[in-house]
Amino acid sequence: MHLFLLIGLVAFSIMAVLSRDLLKSAISLAVASIFLALVFFHLGAVYAGVFELSVVAGLITVLFITAIALTRNDGEVAESKRHRIVFPLFFLALAVLDILVMRKLLGQIPAIQGAGSGTFSQVLWNQRTFDLVGQVGAIFAGVLAVLALFRHDSPKGDSHE
């Protein structure tokens, strides 16, 4: 089950990269996010799964589709046709290398028992408080950047250069 979910995740990621239509790419990315969320649920990471499903598969896909719709007329970019040949070769080489390295590692890494760290809310609010400050800062910076980029110039043309 876990293996099938991981294969689905990689397959839809490849579709997102290779698809010629940007809309299909964005939707493939959303499906890959759904597979990743299912992997998280399967591993017991419920909060991360819910976040992945709602924010990445939902919000980021909406952002992508909005951007694609706004740039639809100019969206055609002639990608090289060599990707059809180069990407499978690259992926095959990567997969073979990956399998060789991971087979070598099999049984080599000792299992380390971590200390149980309490409930999710204790970890998030007590241990990782500084991360939350950073998150607020990142969201604020993102909002300011989007506002600055979509700012309309004043009619007199006296905006700062």
Binding site: L43, G75, L94, M102, F120, L124, L149, F150
Partner: protein, 102 residues
């Protein structure tokens, strides 16, 4: 449990490889962002898989949420930048962005 971690890490390497290929080979700016997104997926999978293997899933999830929130801010800013550039150049081709070229 350790073998499951190695299996997950194998797929993490594949995801990061696919994302890097996308960043290096594609010319469409939206596709480049999709590459960044795929790399972020690999990173979040690595965090959760490591948390699961070390029996410290709560800390891993807290860090995944941080990664996702920062990822959203980055993607929103980058897409706004792409739309803004598109209004000037009427193209999404990254090879046409040569105005700052010395």
């Amino acid at each position: 449990m350790n073998n499951l971690w190695i299996l997950n890490m194998g797929f993490v390497a594949l995801l990061i490889g696919i994302g890097l290929y996308c960043l290096l080979a594609m010319k469409n700016t939206v596709k480049l962002l999709i590459g960044v997104e795929i790399i972020a997926k690999g990173v979040t999978l690595a965090l959760v898989a490591s948390g699961y293997a070390r029996d410290n899933l709560m800390l891993a999830q807290a860090m995944v949420i941080t990664v996702i929130v920062i990822d959203v801010a980055v993607i929103a800013t980058a897409l706004a930048l792409i739309i803004s550039i598109n209004r000037h150049t009427k193209s999404l081709d990254v090879s046409k962005l040569t105005q700052l070229k010395g």
